[in-house]
């Protein structure tokens, strides 16, 4: 157990979280751009409120988008939005992983430091 909880393994975990998040997000955005073209016949960018990521707070917004995806109601906008959500959630996950790690190895100093970062980020994502 002690070997499993080495700082090296935390770094390895973080590294995987980051790379998987970025690849998943870039893949979804590429798919989104293609399906946008397929549906609209052009690559125009529209700056109207309905094309901005907006709504309730970030977490419930993400949940709604995910729900829509599972229910099969796909629109190019939703795929693009989900790609951005995955991107934003990636660094968030790596902070979460560090909080869990420092909790498990009982390092109160860094547990407080990483938890502080997590709380501020969560609060900031909850504001709308």
């Amino acid at each position: 157990m002690k070997k499993l909880l080495s700082e090296e393994n935390l770094e390895l975990t973080i590294s995987y979280i980051l790379i998987i998040g970025v690849i998943a997000s870039v893949a979804m955005e590429s798919l989104g751009i293609l399906s946008y073209y397929y549906t609209n016949g052009d690559f125009g960018i529209v700056f109207q409120p309905q094309y901005a990521l907006r709504g309730s707070d970030f977490f419930s917004y993400s949940a709604t988008m995910l729900q829509n995806l599972i229910l099969g109601s796909w629109t190019p906008f939703q795929i693009l939005a989900l790609g951005i959500i995955v991107l934003m959630i990636t660094p968030y996950m790596r902070v979460l992983a560090s909080v869990i790690y420092f909790g498990l190895v009982r390092n109160p100093k860094y547990l407080v430091i990483t938890a502080f970062v997590l709380i501020i980020l969560t609060a900031s994502l909850l504001v709308h």
């Binding site: 700082e7 090296e8 935390l10 770094e11 390895l12 973080i14 590294s15 995987y16 980051l18 790379i19 998040g21 970025v22 997000s25 870039v26 955005e29 590429s30 989104g32 751009i33 946008y36 073209y37 690559f43 125009g44 960018i45 529209v46 700056f47 409120p49 094309y51 901005a52 990521l53 907006r54 707070d57 970030f58 906008f77 693009l80 939005a81 790609g83 951005i84 991107l87 934003m88 990636t90 660094p91 968030y92 790596r94 902070v95 560090s98 100093k109 860094y110 430091i113 990483t114 502080f116 970062v117 501020i120 980020l121 900031s124 994502l125 504001v127 709308h128």
Partner: protein
């Protein structure tokens, strides 16, 4: 979107080559194409998460990044970024052009500001930095040996990072060069640790800024998506060619780009109706 994608690939490439980062280059170009400056800043902020996290992944794995220093410093950058992004959401757009030009001006400092010594020696660690366990070691490929180091002045470093976060959040950039200066000059990190740790922190700073832009409804997917894809491709390509280009050319390229961007942002700010 296709145009944005192609420009982003170039911006990502140049950003990686010069160390400016994609965001600093992308925003002025988008503005030139008529994109409102606040939308450009918000989209850049999200894009930075992709480029930063992509490269951070490999540096963390190679154990060059000092994650503890990053966790500590992030506390300060996120607060700066949230405040900065909130300011941007509310102020007059015209001011942003001038702030942007002003910030680019400070990046010239990076050209001369680099430390001459390869690795900081005889650093006397203060008690607070020691308490934070701010030290480490990594294997340096170029020097072919293990480099051990200690950091100091953690309290000042935190303060400096808050300023860096403020600039990053306000302008939708990583402020990487600025962070690196703080790491090297105040905290006394070796330069490789400094740049990789800065890169690692940028992802969190960008998320903090992006969360404000999300809440303000300034984040447009049609703009952010092709930018994220493009700059990521560009940054990966840039990272690959960087080692093959002489330092002298990189410096001239940096100088030329920063000059053009400053002039352009000032011009835009002055002529804006």
């Amino acid at each position: 979107m296709l145009t944005v994608l192609v420009i982003s690939i170039f911006a990502g490439l140049l950003g990686a080559l010069t160390g400016l980062g994609g965001g600093s280059i992308m925003t002025p170009i988008l503005v030139q194409f008529g994109v409102p400056v606040k939308y450009a800043i918000a989209a850049s902020m999200v894009t930075i998460i992709a480029t930063s996290s992509g490269s951070a992944a490999s540096y963390v794995k190679e154990r060059i990044t000092n994650v503890k220093a990053a966790f500590y410093l992030e506390m300060f950058t996120i607060i700066g970024a949230i405040v900065g992004a909130t300011i941007t959401a509310f102020i007059q757009p015209r001011l942003l052009y001038f702030f942007f030009a002003g910030f680019l001006l400070t990046s010239f400092y990076g050209l001369s500001g680099h430390l001459k010594e390869e690795f900081p020696k005889r650093v006397k660690q203060d008690r607070f930095s020691k308490w934070l366990e701010l030290q480490g070691s990594y294997y340096d490929q170029a020097a072919r040996r293990k480099v051990s180091y200690k950091m100091t002045n953690a309290h000042l470093g935190g303060l400096g990072m808050m300023v860096a976060g403020l600039a990053a959040g306000m302008l939708g950039i990583g402020a990487g060069a600025f962070k690196v200066s703080i790491h090297e000059l105040i905290l006394r990190m070796p330069s490789k640790v400094s740049s990789t740790t800065s890169n690692f922190i940028i992802g969190i700073t960008a998320l903090a800024g992006a969360s404000v832009y999300f809440a303000s409804g300034l984040l447009f997917v049609g703009l952010a998506a092709p930018m994220a894809v493009g700059t990521t491709i560009g940054a990966v390509a840039g990272g690959r060619v960087l080692n093959r280009i002489p330092n002298r050319i990189v410096r001239y390229l940096f100088l030329a780009i920063v000059l053009v961007l400053i002039v352009q942002m000032l011009y835009k700010g002055i002529t804006l109706q």
